[in-house]
């Protein structure tokens, strides 16, 4: 047995889970356990108690409500990947999910777990920031919602307080008829942590003018970053204008070096992948009728 000893508790309700978490600040939530259990095995985490929320029905499932797709925190990643609702409403998430871990870890890993873990290179937080998702948090006093860009504070650091539990992620669903998405990532091996990941979603009007555009970058900062691409809105976008806008927006990008990739490499790849993700998104939105010039 590699982990240090802990107590195991399976609450019957979210309220009970929150009470237990609030009473013991060294207690931790476990859901899919695909990140927490390796950390326990390496004794990087030594909680006194694991509160297993995986079977809480109230935290499971995928619903469309108020123009957003609400994904319950303990919904497994593989369930999202196979969901018809997600396929039709969140094409960007569908493109990002194959990059999350490996098929066996996606069978157990949850959406809320990935959000709460807040790895700077993780794909689900990147999609949440790119689309401007809201994170729903429960604590003993009630439930609240927080925009994704306020929720993520730093590497593996979120606005979640002791006693809080992430209970759902609300991804906005774009209602425009012409939507395109793009996702690019580079890592040392397939499904390793991303050095750089780029996610883009755009919407066009009938004449092919851009009416909405979102670009996010993962792996380059302390958390996923949303990149300002508003200059593209209202334009008939070309490859040149995409490249110019992304280059300008990523020039001042603060990023750090590590064993795997230097800061300047990350900055360069961020500009290239940001451009490619947007190019893919515009090309997809334009469809076969007219390609991206």
């Amino acid at each position: 047995m590699k982990p240090a000893p802990f107590d195991y508790f399976r609450p019957a309700s979210l309220a009970e889970a929150c009470d237990v978490l609030a009473a013991d600040e060294d207690a931790r939530i476990i859901a899919g356990g695909q990140t927490l259990i390796p950390m326990l095995a390496m004794r990087l985490a030594r909680p006194t108690k694991l509160v297993d929320i995986l079977r809480l029905q109230e935290l499971r499932g995928i619903r469309i409500e108020e123009g957003a797709a609400a994904i319950g925190a303990v919904t497994r990643q593989v369930e999202v990947e196979r969901s018809e609702i997600v396929r039709s409403s969140l094409p960007l998430l569908i493109k990002a999910l194959p990059w999350v871990g490996h098929p066996p870890t996606r069978c157990r890993g949850t959406v809320g777990g990935s959000i709460a873990n807040a790895d700077p290179s993780a794909e689900i937080p990147l999609v949440a920031v790119t689309l401007g998702a809201e994170i729903e948090i429960a604590n003993p006093t009630g439930r609240s919602r927080m925009p994704a860009d306020e929720f993520f504070i730093g590497p593996m650091l979120t606005a979640v307080m002791p006693g809080d539990c992430v209970c759902a992620v609300h991804f906005p669903v774009w209602s425009h008829p012409r939507i395109g998405t793009g996702f690019h990532e580079v890592s040392a091996r397939q499904s390793d942590f991303a050095f750089v990941a780029a996610a883009a979603q755009v919407a066009l009007d009938e004449e092919g003018r851009c009416i909405e555009a979102a670009l996010g970058l993962g792996g380059v900062g302390d958390h996923a970053l949303r990149i300002d691409v508003t200059p593209l809105i209202g334009e008939k976008v070309t490859r040149v204008s995409i490249s110019d806008v992304v280059r300008a927006a990523t020039q001042e990008l603060e990023t750090s070096s590590d064993l795997h990739a230097s800061a300047s490499y990350r900055r360069r790849v961020a500009a290239v992948f940001g451009t490619r993700a947007l190019e893919d998104a515009f090309a997809e939105a334009l469809g076969s009728g007219g390609g991206l010039q």
Binding site: K2, P5, F6, G33, L40, L54, R60, P103, P104
Partner: protein, 191 residues
Amino acid sequence: MKVTLKVNGRLCEADVEPRKTLLDTLREDLLLVGSHAGCEHGVCGACTVLIDGEPSRSCLMFAVQADGYEITTIEGLAPTPGELSVVQDAFCETHGLQCGFCTPGMVLTAHALLERHDAPSREEIVEAISGNICRCTGYGQIVEAVDYAAERLRKTNMPRRLQVVSASTAADLEKGVRESVDGETARGGRS
């Protein structure tokens, strides 16, 4: 803590510490040593078992979390004692194993893939086994084995019972039920 696990269609009881992984419990308490302990932190895939038909790392789950699921280990894959499943046989035929350490995980992962896909492409096979590390074969013969097993399964001329593993509800998990499971498929065999 006492825990009741349903492994290869049988209910087994074990008294374990909460920190004991499903892998260690399978190997030490239930004496099912076919699931191999490799890295023990979710990197290598040698400990892969099927949880409700889906490949999962048994080192990344505690035994106390595993009640109510249908757990299939490599021991539960053969249709009858002394025989090999089609996937296992295909691994032998194509030399899809050398030292054999990764093989139980590879076979179970391939089995789960072929339960969902009749004719996976090479890319789909590679993606499916991407979480399983092999240090001997160079993967070529493993991919060949899965492709060969798929072909043989298509030609068995038997109705295939695709295990539809849908978003099972917590109530289902508690009861330990799964869609369209009979005794045969619960042991991982083909009906």
